[in-house]
């Protein structure tokens, strides 16, 4: 399911702006919080943007604003992550995503 979702997200991403200043999105978890990081390919952190958190069924679980410094945090136990999470970041001019797979989560939760 998470792979199907990824295809849809990729299709959206390809329709976006050119990649001269590509947005790099990454998310990780320490098993308590999900840390979202967004920066441009020149190394500068994204200063603003919307973060959308989706589950494996392509359902938006929550949205929040990107903080200055290009980060955002979500409590892992506040979202259904049983099928992984898709983290989309949209700065208005650029967007991209990261898939936090069930394996990624399990690895950092010591299981």
């Amino acid at each position: 399911m998470i792979r199907c979702l990824a295809v849809a997200v990729v299709a959206c991403a390809l329709g976006g702006p050119a990649a001269a200043h590509k947005l790099v999105v990454f998310a990780s978890t320490d098993c308590e919080m999900v840390l979202v990081e967004a920066k441009f390919s020149n190394g500068n952190a994204a200063q603003q943007g919307e973060v959308r958190v989706l589950d494996g069924q392509n359902t938006v679980l929550t949205t929040l604003a990107l903080e200055t410094g290009g980060t955002a945090q979500i409590a892992l136990d506040k979202v259904d992550h049983s099928e992984g999470l898709v983290i989309e970041v949209d700065t208005g001019g650029h967007d991209n995503y990261w898939i936090l797979t069930p394996e990624d989560i399990a690895r950092n939760c010591g299981s």
């Binding site: 990824a6 590509k22 790099v24 990454f26 990780s28 920066k39 390919s41 020149n42 190394g43 991209n96 990261w98 898939i99 394996e103 990624d104």
Partner: protein, 256 residues
């Protein structure tokens, strides 16, 4: 075996042998790891004549490391012994947990080459980008000798030029000689003349060289200089060839 395809006589084969260039090799399974590819990269380390697919023994390296965002980690103890091109080599599966450019570097033990009456030490490296983040692609590691890329050393189309600066002890080497060779992994490329196996270009006065490969695949660039020291062999002091080697993958052009 493939060498024979290029030779018409035994004498020709014997005479040609010294022409083949030695290369330290670090070849990843993919120079651009996307998140869909997984969370690791697999590396193969060897010493060979790469066009000929002619392996030579790679002793346990003196050093093997990865550098990312200015931090270098020692990976020497993680290398796994393996047979590559019918000779001793090493492999490594390295977990990647964050985006960025990972630079893998190897310093081998001095290799005694009787045919050249010299030792060979090839400081070898390759750049792997992960998860869409190419920051750090132009990183200089500060090796004894190295090629510092001026072209991003991954994501190049075939026929693009690759440019780099040859450095020794951190300083550009004017007019350095750079040997270029294709990793003939499938063994299906033949050279119409032995002189075409190893291409040679020279750097300019600032140590900058340029090369455009004729095809996609892995291409090795080796800038060769003689060390300012010698090593003993059979009671004599012998010259040491220092090679700055970088492996770069060129991608197949997908346009019409």
């Amino acid at each position: 075996m493939k060498r024979h395809m290029l030779c018409t006589t035994l004498a020709g084969c014997l005479a040609a042998t010294p022409l083949f260039a030695h290369y330290g090799m670090i070849i990843p399974n993919d120079p651009m790891i996307s998140q869909e590819d997984g969370r690791s990269v697999s590396l193969q380390m060897s010493f060979s004549h790469p066009f000929e697919m002619d392996g030579m023994m790679l002793e346990t390296p003196v050093a093997f490391s990865v550098t990312r965002e200015g931090e270098t980690s020692d990976l020497l103890g993680d290398l796994q012994s393996a047979t590559l091109m019918d000779e001793q080599g090493y492999t490594l599966d390295y977990p990647i947990d964050r985006p960025g450019t990972y630079i893998f570097a190897m310093e081998p033990q001095p290799y005694w080459e009787p045919a050249e009456d010299a030792f060979i030490i090839h400081y070898t490296k390759t750049y792997v980008t992960a998860f869409g983040d190419d920051e750090g692609w132009d990183t200089e590691l500060g090796l004894k000798t190295e090629i510092v890329p001026l072209s991003k050393p991954f994501g190049l189309w075939e026929h693009n030029v690759f440019q780099g600066i040859v450095k020794m002890d951190g300083e550009p080497v004017p007019y350095a000689e750079v040997e270029v060779e294709y990793f003939n992994e499938g063994g299906d490329v033949t050279a119409p003349d032995e002189l075409m196996i190893t291409q040679t270009v020279k750097a300019d006065a600032d140590g900058v060289f340029t090369y455009a490969p004729p095809s996609d695949g892995w291409w090795g660039f080796a800038a060769l200089n003689t060390a300012d020291y010698t090593l003993p062999q059979d009671g004599e002091d012998k010259a040491v060839e220092l090679g700055a080697v970088i492996w770069v993958h060129f991608e197949e052009w997908t346009g019409q």
